[in-house]
């Protein structure tokens, strides 16, 4: 439901490492975009810059009509759900409370001190749990669930925010193939049915091919491919996964064998 405009983003860390060297992209509202690239290419940094978990050295991010600044972070974040590789649930809280944390930006600090939520919040969290098929686990402790279930709770938490955008940072990197399939399917379904803009970092080319509308390929902090899924041919993949400028043909063979 919201377009994301990434403009000339540069990110230089305190140690001088330049993770992003001027990245620009426009992500259409309601689309499903996958960011591919080798480890260290800047995928996570880019995703985390979108909701301000990282502050860029230069450039701007615009979500919908809002330019992200340090001053409107809370407001922006309330509309951007995030899903993490390691789920990042609060282990000792129930599944329900974890999902309810998605509603926090709409609640006052006083109510939060007493762990109080409104009826409407409970209903939204309940709906989110129905969407991910975990209603029966509502009162289980989050750390008692399997990895795939925990990631579904992570998605429910994002859904409870009623977001316009969902960012997923390698959401299936810690999951087995079956659970990966489920999670990607769920994200795709959310994108298609609710029109929520979904941006996913992935390592699996094959999943990207099947689920994405569009691919952004990053390598060493630069966009090396930006286009439809169909354009992911051998040469493009070679460019995305090249190391120090050398095309890695041998590894590519292996990689494509699995793709």
């Amino acid at each position: 439901m919201a377009k994301i405009i990434i403009k000339d983003i540069v990110k230089r860390y305190a140690n001088g490492f330049e993770a992003l060297k001027g990245v620009s992209a426009e992500i259409a509202a309601g689309s499903f975009t996958v960011i591919l690239g080798p480890s260290g290419a800047g995928k996570s940094t880019l995703l985390r810059t979108i909701n301000g978990l990282e502050t860029q050295t230069a450039g701007t991010i615009q979500i919908g009509e809002h330019i992200v600044t340090p001053h409107n972070l809370r407001q922006v974040r309330s509309q951007v759900g995030m899903v993490f590789q390691h789920f990042n649930l609060v282990d000792r809280l129930s599944v329900m409370t974890n999902v309810l944390t998605g509603r926090l930006s709409h609640r006052s600090w006083l109510g939060s001190l007493l762990y109080l939520f409104r009826r409407t919040d409970l209903d939204l969290a309940h709906d989110a749990l129905i969407r991910v098929g975990l209603t029966d686990k509502a009162w289980n402790r989050a750390d008692k669930l399997s990895g795939g279930q925990q990631q579904r709770v992570g998605i429910a938490r994002a859904l409870a925010q009623q977001p316009r955008v969902i960012l997923a940072d390698e959401p299936v990197a810690s999951l087995d193939p079956v659970a990966s399939e489920e999670i990607m399917g769920l994200l795709r379904e959310i994108c298609t049915r609710d029109g929520i803009t979904v941006v996913v970092n992935l390592h699996q080319v094959e999943l990207a091919r099947r689920f994405a509308d569009r691919i952004i390929g990053l390598n060493e902090g630069l966009v090396v491919y930006d286009g439809p899924t169909g354009g992911l041919d051998r040469i493009t993949l070679g460019k995305i996964y090249s190391r120090n400028g050398d095309l890695v043909d041998e590894q590519l063979e292996t990689m494509l064998a699995y793709a």
């Binding site: 993490f84 944390t101 600090w109 939060s112």
Partner: protein, 264 residues
């Protein structure tokens, strides 16, 4: 078949293991201390006889006054409970400010840290003396002294636990647009719940022991009675009091170990 000669590539140079250096340094330090303070093991050996004789005076505990002792024990326990409660309240309020990753800014962090350090650095015996002078004899100054001193400890423990929570959890809650207070309430405390309860039990356990001692400076409870009997050389009554204190401390120790085991 001839033996094959396996040509291995050389390992990198083995890193130096400093344990022996540390150990000999430590032994040298201990030896220096013994020489410098003229600690003598001979004196200790000669003194064993006297020590044994002194302890033998405690061999016939007199429980005639047991009901009074139990009442005093109640006072001591109440002092410890109030002191611990005060410590918990203060620590819960201060700890998030003293945790580097939750504190709003460096200045607040410093202030909270130093405040906790200060409270910790004030010995509770000294605090009790001050409060007794200001408020008079009784359990109240004892509770205050324990509260202030252990709030310093508890606050530091809490803050450090809060700092150890996986940063991803804080990030996830922050990313949903939560405020700082909400971050502390939904990501901080729930994540350290078990540790925090363990620390609280430990602090209570410690405060019971200390509350018994605080009586010696006039802060009420069973310690005051022990102080009196010792001064009047009533070794049999002192012995009974010591037994009562010992049993209590052991019971509480077992209880808190059991409770902490339950929590895990």
């Amino acid at each position: 078949m001839a033996e094959e000669i396996i040509q291995r590539p050389a390992l990198p140079k083995k890193p130096f293991n400093p344990t022996s250096v540390w150990l000999s340094g430590w032994l040298a330090l201990i030896w220096l201390i013994i020489v410098d303070l003229e600690l003598s093991f001979e004196t200790l050996l000669y003194g064993v006889q006297d020590i044994l004789e002194y302890f033998s005076r405690y061999s016939r505990p007199n429980f005639d006054d047991l009901s009074r002792y139990v009442e005093l024990l109640g006072q001591t326990l109440a002092t410890a409970l109030w002191g611990s409660t005060l410590a918990i309240v203060v620590a819960v309020l201060l700890a998030p400010f003293a945790a580097r990753n939750l504190s709003p800014n460096a200045v607040t962090y410093r202030i909270a840290r130093e405040l906790l350090n200060f409270m910790r650095a004030m010995p509770d015996l000294l605090l009790a003396l001050i409060f007794v002078a200001a408020l008079g004899l009784g359990p109240l100054p004892g509770a205050l002294a324990l509260g202030v001193h252990t709030a310093g400890f508890l606050g530091k423990f809490f803050a450090e636990s809060l700092e150890r929570v996986d940063n991803g959890i804080y990030e996830a809650v922050t990313a949903s647009g939560a405020s700082r207070v909400q971050l502390v309430m939904y990501a901080g405390w729930p994540s350290i719940q078990r540790e925090a309860l363990g620390y609280m039990l430990y602090i209570f356990d410690r405060n019971v022991r200390m509350a018994a001692v605080l009586g010696l400076v006039g802060a009420g409870g069973i310690g005051l009675a022990l102080h009196d009997t010792l001064r009047m050389f009533n070794y049999d009554q002192s012995a009974a009091l010591i037994v009562v204190i010992l049993v209590t401390i052991l019971t509480i120790d077992y209880l808190s170990t059991w409770l902490r085991g339950k929590l895990n």
